[in-house]
């Protein structure tokens, strides 16, 4: 599948990799890309395999990518759709809208705020969001994808992306407001 991707995305490829740059790319891309792969194939282990296959293909073909994010996410998406063709398993994406409001109640502030690092606290909260919302948040905030790009990668509408993001921020705001003294 890797060979296949390189042909498709030839325009993104330039120069060679060295080991350090490769490891660095892996480190930077891992958090969101792993979540994305899990989202697509609904299996942590297979997601890991797909993710690693994509990176191995990049390394083997000795290519440097000019638009890393776009390339890697598209490669993972392609690989995942091949995966579905093989496994023939139709995974249902459960609509997560319903479960949203439960989350801030479930969060135990006393536990969370033991951690002094605000950034870590915040990401603890982000990680409690429903899966798709969390993924949208990561892709938007960490990887800097636009609404449109996220919509294409997740096969959802731009409006849904925006909605997830706004609700995600509102969720964070609610908790921060409720626990202002601990946070500020």
């Amino acid at each position: 599948m890797g060979e296949n991707n390189t042909t498709v995305f030839d325009g993104d490829l330039v120069h060679n990799f060295d080991g350090k740059a490769f490891e660095d790319l892996y480190r930077r891309m891992y958090p969101t890309l792993k979540k994305y792969a899990v989202y697509l194939v609904r299996d942590v282990e297979d997601a890991q395999l797909i993710l690693n296959d994509v990176f191995i293909a990049i390394w083997k073909n000795n290519i440097r990518i000019s638009n890393e994010k776009a390339y890697l996410f598209r490669a993972v998406k392609n690989a995942s759709s091949n995966y579905h063709k093989i496994s023939k398993t139709n995974f249902l994406h459960i609509d997560e809208q319903e479960s949203l409001e439960v989350w801030d109640k479930a969060a135990d502030p006393s536990q969370i705020y033991l951690d002094k690092d605000r950034n870590r606290i915040l990401y603890n909260l982000i990680d409690q969001m429903p899966e798709r919302r969390r993924l949208v948040f990561y892709m938007y905030r960490i990887d800097g994808f636009s609404y449109k790009e996220i919509a294409a990668l997740l096969d959802i509408s731009v409006r849904t992306v925006e909605d997830h993001l706004v609700k995600g921020f509102q969720f964070l705001q609610d908790i921060v407001l409720k626990n202002e003294t601990e946070f500020r």
């Binding site: 599948m1 891992y30 958090p31 890991q48 915040l122 921020f169």
Partner: protein, 342 residues
């Protein structure tokens, strides 16, 4: 207290536009103008903006996390350009996904098969697990193989360049094949040919025994593979196994309760379910690197037992109790006396 959806949308548009403006003064000015208008609409907006900005800033970077390292380490071996696989010590982790294939190879058929496989002078690499040892091999394509005691596997040096990833097995092995739909993975064992696209499976190829291919997950095609050519393939799904009887040359499909037990040996376990006692002894001989000598044939004797990583004495004591036999151990030999079948 919380900012409503419309305002959040507006503020997020502003924050991301500013972040992505990359010093484009014109654009930043434009964004600032819009936000000033918005701020003047409601005095509460100032505080909301500050709040949003604060969340925006502290969410910019995820906390330092080492999860990626462990994952990265797993591909390190594949990244090295060397052809020979890394042989690593047998580890106890094993994926839920597994396919168990069992194939019996006779020396005769093995020889016949050689010319077919070595058509263009391909260099083959062979790895063996000695008696009493299980080894884990990672092939150049990052397929993982657990090789059972007294088994060997051969693969071409150019495995990755080949259209078909072909390997040859003697004995028993458990495979976790790297998924690659364009390059099917084929295992030749004397009388069976097992083809997969990417999944895990275990092949057993003990001489003089019936071959079995057991699927845990994924899909596997098994066909007879001999000098006479291939037979039609039978397709196995999880919890099914193919069995090939050398004498009747019959390849049959069986449904089984739990395919996972077929790969138990990779975790150091031995599972016997109405297993012929002579086969049980063979398994023990290989696993513990011992020779078993009995004073009777135990023909028709069956044993059902499970041993979870226990030492030889415990195994023998259990068998002693269930079959009422006596054993003595002298160096590498176990002498068994008496015993009666239930």
């Amino acid at each position: 207290m919380r900012m409503d959806q419309e305002n959040w949308k507006f503020v997020l548009d502003y924050l991301s536009a500013k972040e992505n403006a990359h010093g484009n003064v014109q654009q930043i000015k434009q964004e600032e103008k819009k936000i000033q208008e918005w701020l003047s609409k409601d005095p509460k907006n100032q505080q909301d903006l500050e709040h949003a900005l604060w969340l925006w800033q502290i969410s910019a970077v995820p906390p330092e996390d080492d999860d990626w390292k462990e994952s990265f380490n797993t591909i390190q071996t594949s990244l090295s350009k060397e052809v020979s696989p890394k042989t690593v010590k047998f580890r106890f982790w094993i994926a839920a996904a597994a396919v168990f294939t069992a194939v019996a190879l006779s020396t005769f058929f093995y020889r016949l098969q050689q010319p077919v496989l070595q058509n263009t002078g391909i260099d083959w690499v062979t790895k063996s697990a000695g008696a009493g040892k299980v080894i884990n091999i990672i092939l150049p394509d990052s397929t993982e193989i657990w090789l059972n005691s007294g088994s060997s596997i051969s693969f071409p040096k150019n495995l990755q360049q080949a259209a078909l990833r072909t390997v040859k097995l003697k004995g028993e092995a458990f495979f976790k094949v790297k998924r690659d739909p364009r390059h099917p993975f084929v295992v030749h064992s004397l009388n069976l040919r097992t083809q997969v696209l990417g999944t895990s499976f275990n092949i057993r190829a003990w001489e003089g025994h019936r071959s079995e291919v057991t699927v845990l997950t994924g899909k596997v095609a098994v066909s007879r593979d001999s000098a006479g050519g291939q037979s039609a393939a039978i397709h196995l799904l999880p919890n099914q196994k193919a069995a090939y009887d050398v004498h009747s040359t019959n390849l049959s499909l069986e449904n089984i309760g739990n395919a996972q037990t077929a790969a138990d040996w990779t975790e150091g376990k031995m599972t016997f379910d109405q297993t012929d006692l002579r086969d049980v002894f063979e398994v023990i001989e290989r696993k513990y690197d011992m020779k078993i000598i009995t004073d009777q044939s135990f023909k028709g004797c069956k044993l059902t037992a499970q041993f979870d990583n226990v030492n030889l004495n415990e195994v023998l004591k259990t068998i002693q109790l269930s079959l009422d036999l006596h054993y003595t151990i002298n160096k590498k030999t176990i002498y068994i006396k008496g015993g009666k079948c239930n």
